[in-house]
Symmetry: none
Subunit: 301 residues, 2 copies
């Protein structure tokens, strides 16, 4: 609790400028400790006392409640996954928000944040769940928090180029919406107008969506396959329709084993969000000469 904060940190937490906060320190409204070099340091205790005394607003409570995460370490990928796991299981939405947005604002690519922070965090929660260290409702609640976070992230992105349309979905019976939503955001980060149709969409309806929109790309996140034969058959119908509209098909998801993949026909298989991002970039660069359909051209082993 006697963690020391810089004037800038306190200023951000209470929603004012660094200049004003420094002036208030010099006026004696906030007691400060000085470093050997003359920099001001304010204890969390003192910052909270000031907030109470002045009835001042607190815009970013997590900065005062979790000062350990406000230093520069917070802006690094390393360790973020573990901190996110903890924040998710603690139902601490603000902390989750802070972790991801700090990385985003620090310039980390969306795909890297997803691959190296979000995905590991949910893998970790899944493992804890299997070991009975976490409850089902905690996992579901974590998904809710993350979904809200993803939505906020999406709303902060620059509006994409409307000339490059992509449609995304999960297949019928697959309700896992986080991966497919992350894929949407990754594609939008490379200036692709990605539109998530939703989860659990039958292949026949996907075919109609492709025919109606003629997108440059369709991405499918396959976390669960209820009926393998039906999946193969439906995918073939989608593939046929996509070739007519010169639409690339990108697939991903843990349900696509290599055995299944060898029997599918798609433009790219993406293990990670980074692969998807790179595929999206190639699509953007050469929208006409893009390989529209190639048998089993996996981008990565």
């Amino acid at each position: 609790m006697d963690q020391l904060l810089s004037p800038k940190q306190v200023a951000e937490a209470i929603g004012t400028s660094e200049s004003s906060l420094k002036r208030w320190c010099d006026l004696g409204l906030l007691k400060t400790v000085k470093t050997a070099g003359g920099h001001r340091r304010i204890s969390v205790h003192e910052a909270l006392r000031f907030v109470r005394e002045q009835n001042h607003a607190v815009v970013e409570p997590h900065l005062l409640s979790m000062p350990a995460t406000t230093d520069r370490r917070a802006r690094r990928i390393e360790g973020s996954a573990e901190r996110l796991t903890e924040a998710l299981l603690a139902d601490n939405q603000q902390a989750c928000h802070a972790i991801v947005f700090d990385l985003f604002l620090a310039g980390e690519s969306i795909s890297r944040i997803f691959d190296e922070v979000v995905a590991p965090a949910f893998r970790s929660i899944g493992e804890k769940w299997e070991c009975h260290e976490a409850e089902v409702y905690q996992e579901r609640c974590s998904c809710q928090i993350m979904l809200r976070l993803l939505h906020d992230l999406r709303s902060k992105q620059v509006p994409p180029n409307p000339n490059l349309v992509a449609l995304g979905a999960t297949i019928e019976g697959d309700q896992y919406d986080l991966p497919v939503t992350m894929a949407e955001i990754v594609l939008r980060s490379v200036d692709c107008d990605a539109r998530l149709l939703g989860t659990s969409i039958p292949f026949d309806s996907l075919v109609k969506a492709v025919q109606a929109h003629s997108p440059e790309l369709v991405w499918l996140s396959v976390s669960f396959i209820a009926d393998e034969a039906g999946f193969m058959e439906g995918f073939q119908r989608l593939s046929t329709a996509a070739s007519k509209t010169r639409t690339a098909i990108v697939v991903g998801g843990r349900a696509l084993t290599s055995e299944i993949r060898t029997r599918l026909s798609y433009s790219a298989f993406c293990d990670t969000m980074r692969h998807l991002e790179e595929f999206g970039k190639t699509l953007r660069r050469q929208p006409d000469s893009t390989p529209k359909k190639a048998r089993n051209t996996r981008k990565n082993a």
Copy 2:
């Protein structure tokens, strides 16, 4: 998001003079926080609350981080459901946002917007789907648009009182997340700290969540029952756990036929969001003397 605005910024946003706005602040119509130097600061949430309460115009919505508004004639419940249906099927997210947020800014209660605009729109889409006038992917896409809209709406609400905790969920096998999300927003609109755990949560895990959080309220949205016997049994376990923590149980959803309801034990059944809102209000007014468990006390026929 809950950033602070100066009186001048708010005045510009709602199209009035700085002088008047300062006077209204001093009259207590707008809650303000003060800087150490005595300058007024107004949160976006408070500004929106004022606009809704006073039915004030908003000439610069972007200053309050709101979507652009249409003309004032659009601020009516009548006809909004039809316009929303059309906008949803046309995949026009901006139009959907405009319709709902215009009503929100005009001071319509959240529950009324949901009951008389959103719900009818989705009923209408469901009917079109049954008549083969709309595709499955259109319905799913509409749900995505609405889910994003609901998230945005939620972020515009004033942060609720943390002393009145409510947990919400759908039961295992029920993946329909719109009603349960709307319920969360309705409860938050009556100053209840409603937290949506997620969809498809087994009763045993719900029991653990209740034991961990001891909420004043649990709401269940039941759109689909896979196993009726299992549902009855699980609900009984939840009911027992809830009585121990003095937690009220509110249920709703089209899967709860009157035949099923007669065999359940809950605090309230809500046909509409308005019923839920009213129940939330009673809970807030008398948090101690609230009837925690009564057999089949339907709030409405």
